[in-house]
Amino acid sequence: MTIETIAKNSTLNIQKLRQDFPILSKKVNGKPLVYLDNGATAQKPKQVIDAISNYYQTQNANVHRGVHQLSIEITVAYENARTTVQKHLNAAFSKEIIFTSGTTESINLVANSFGKKYIKAGDEIIISEMEHHSNILPWQMLCEEKGAVLKIIPINEKGELLIDEYKKLLCGKTKIVAVTHISNTLGTINPVKEIIALAHEKNIPVLIDGAQALPHIKVDLQDLDADFYCFGAHKIFGPSGVGILYGKEKWLNEMPPYKVGGGTIKTVTFEKTEYADLPLKFEAGTPNIEGGIGLAAAIDYVNEIGLENIGAYECELLEYATKKLSAVEGLRIIGTAKEKASVISFVIEEVHPLDVGTILDKQGIAVRTGHHCTQPLMEHFGIPGTIRASLVFYNTKEEIDVLVNGIQKAIKMLK
């Protein structure tokens, strides 16, 4: 199928959109780049690159500090970026949007700060079997420090959470639930609204790891009623090194600062410090200003295309890729949830994922291989790792054909 016919079938002009991403016209190992590693990080449109470049060329100053014009202007721009994030997620207040360095830091912030205040020996924290290490280790470390217990929601063979088992885990000892919105390895879209509602029946707060969700689906925080929501900018076509922690005001007000330093205070004496109000209480030091500006540009870009259009096209891509990949002899898809984003993990009989990834790379095809920072999940499926193709709106059916041919070649060489 040609790019033109895809464009006709979908409301998006993919060929035109691809032109926004300079890197997509690059050649790798002498072949046109087929970038299918968007789950690791997405490519950046020139709108984002220009916003960052423009910041350094015309806007650079420190935020929240100066009285001079440049500082005032960039402070306004940076706070506007916060509001862009707030509106995109439909959060109640912009002060509930905390800039961090990424999803990992956002989760660490909550585990440390919430943990310090609310977790004690014997308490329980619920996560799931499909979590990324970033949503396991901070809680595991907290449990070890406090003598709390980590409880795990199991999954079925399709890679879906067992909600009945989750209900059984929720109890008086549970202090927080931390679950991923979309599995980075399986693509499963978890029923987070239901997960949150069930926890809230027992007054237990819920943190959602949204790292993989933002590029694919519309997130409405007030509708979900999430207590905490985390994501990184780089997976939604924004820059790396910046991310967001959303937290309900009532929690963030109660929680102690996680890192302290410049910008987080009202008054400091050697005897006592009074900390600033939200959101600055959690934003010590000069922030990643260009990161915030770049993130806002990325969100504007995504909204211009429309997440509904993106969702419809990605659904089409996922269906096509699933059909094509399933037809490859000896290939088994890992993660076949009913609700699934355009992330496809698979294994191939008698060949190691790393070998397949190497041969694909020689053909200009970028995929991820390995355990995807989800070792417990690999253990569940009894496999050393998978090959993962994670697709976004700029990928095409032609690229999926290139992938399938590449896999056939790899199998022929490796077996």
């Binding site: 190992n29 060949v351 190691h352 790393l354 070998d355 020689k362 291989t369 390995g370 050393p384």
Partner: protein, 143 residues
Amino acid sequence: MSIEEIENEIVEEFELFGDDWEGKYEHLIDLGKHLPLIDKQYKTDDRLINGCQSKVWLHSELKDEKVVFTADSDAIITKGIVALMIRVISGHTTDEIINAQLKFINKVGLIEHLSPTRSNGLVSMIKQMKLDALAYKQLKTLN
């Protein structure tokens, strides 16, 4: 043959392929299939090399003053790389192994194309082989 002579032999072998990546990798895969396999009893977790996305087991023995290596891996391209390393290093004295420069790695025009996960594994593998040689040398001094 000395370590350097074997290295040169490998460089010449790979030069024949020129820019033909398929040929190079097919050769590497073929070498992997002929790797001197580790005895089952030694294929244990304590013989796993760290730093590799695939599993690599490495075992060494001292035979007639020479260090002899056997290995295995669950990935075939990795096995090919291990086979190359063993072909160069195995069957030499401890001093020869400790002092080996291993310049062939860059010269075969192969390693730079390997993913960091593979090259990290390769670095760990070389380190382990040299450490084994060093351990045998130390043991000899003690005896």
